[in-house]
């Protein structure tokens, strides 16, 4: 009698109610679908910036009477790039050391010119450059600044390493009468 009862229990088919579990699963699925928002692909540019040092630079590159006789003097530690801005905040030109890279907006043609100038400079004097120092006009829009940084990041030192030490400082406005 006992044996028969045990066998009867073992043969009984267990039926789980899947509908309840499916309801819950669909609710979870709905939550994840509604809250799903793929984040845009963002890159980043890593910089190490030293503590602030007071700087007073002219708005434009050195006047004629202050230009060093040795043109390599500006490249001893840092490669200086001056970036003035127009009234709308767009880039109005770029000067690398003592020579104009281009004048006008930061379009692809002008950026290619800057790229060519920087390539030449790094090919000749890359060993002497510790950092690229960008002297940026206060009103220059971040978008144009990043385009210049992009060009600088593409440069390579003579040993093949990419340029990664980039710093920037604010250009001071020239005082009236000077």
């Amino acid at each position: 009698m006992r044996r028969r009862l045990r066998r009867h229990r073992l043969d009984a088919e267990v039926q789980l109610n899947m509908a309840a579990m499916l309801d819950m699963a669909f609710q979870l699925l709905a939550f994840f679908i509604l809250t799903f928002r793929p984040s845009p692909f963002e890159g980043q540019l890593l910089l190490r910036l030293p503590p602030p040092v007071p700087l007073a630079r002219p708005m434009m590159p050195l006047p004629d009477d202050q230009v060093p006789t040795n043109p390599n003097a500006l490249f001893q530690k840092s490669l200086d790039i001056w970036l003035p801005a127009d009234a709308a905040g767009g880039l109005s030109g770029a000067r690398v050391g003592l020579s104009d890279a281009f004048s006008g907006p930061a379009n692809s043609v002008n950026l290619a010119k800057l790229d060519a100038v920087l390539r030449q400079v790094f090919a000749l004097q890359g060993d002497e450059v510790d950092q690229v120092m960008l002297h940026v006009a206060p009103g220059l829009l971040y978008e144009d600044l990043m385009k210049i940084i992009d060009v600088c990041m593409r440069q390579k030192l003579p040993d093949g390493r990419p340029v990664r030490t980039i710093n920037f400082t604010e250009l001071t406005q020239p005082s009236d009468g000077n």
Binding site: G43, L49, K147
Partner: protein
């Protein structure tokens, strides 16, 4: 006779599929998205690449709009107070965890700057300067690698 027939569909395959979908969404869910302001238009930078810090470094994410306002989880905060308080908290943690760390030492955390492309350099530079005055030295400028349709 036909009316009394009871249909019992097999729900196991659909349940399997639903669980697979749930697993997918759970894996791709991004909880960090809340701290990034997606309304900002980041500049486009071709050479921008994602850098994996492998969770070793603390990040201070600053969302800065075109007017130079700092937004934290959508709320506008005072730049100096917020950065100073974050730096204090970071220094307090390091003083406990890291041997030899003194107040005033450089902070190892990276400041992630997510600035709108229309912000003038002057406003951005002021924020960078505040960070530097509070001990931050490492900065990461965020950009998108290509223009995305919004």
């Amino acid at each position: 006779m036909l009316h009394s027939a009871r249909a019992e569909p097999n729900l196991v395959p659909i349940l399997d599929m639903v669980f697979q979908l749930i697993t997918f969404f759970m894996l791709v869910v991004n909880f960090k998205g809340a701290e990034t302001d997606q309304s900002l238009e980041l500049p486009v930078l071709g050479s921008a690449r994602p850098v994996d810090t492998k969770g070793e470094e603390n990040l201070l994410v600053l969302n800065i709009d075109s007017l130079g306002r700092l937004k934290v989880y959508g709320a506008i905060k005072d730049v100096k107070n917020y950065i100073a308080s974050e730096a204090r908290n970071e220094a307090d943690k390091l003083a406990i965890r890291k041997e030899g760390f003194k107040r005033g030492d450089d902070l190892p955390a990276t400041v992630v700057i997510r600035a709108d492309k229309a912000i003038p350099f002057k406003l951005l530079n002021e924020i960078v300067r505040v960070c530097q005055e509070n001990g931050y030295r490492k900065f990461s400028l965020k950009a998108v690698s290509q223009r995305e349709e919004r």
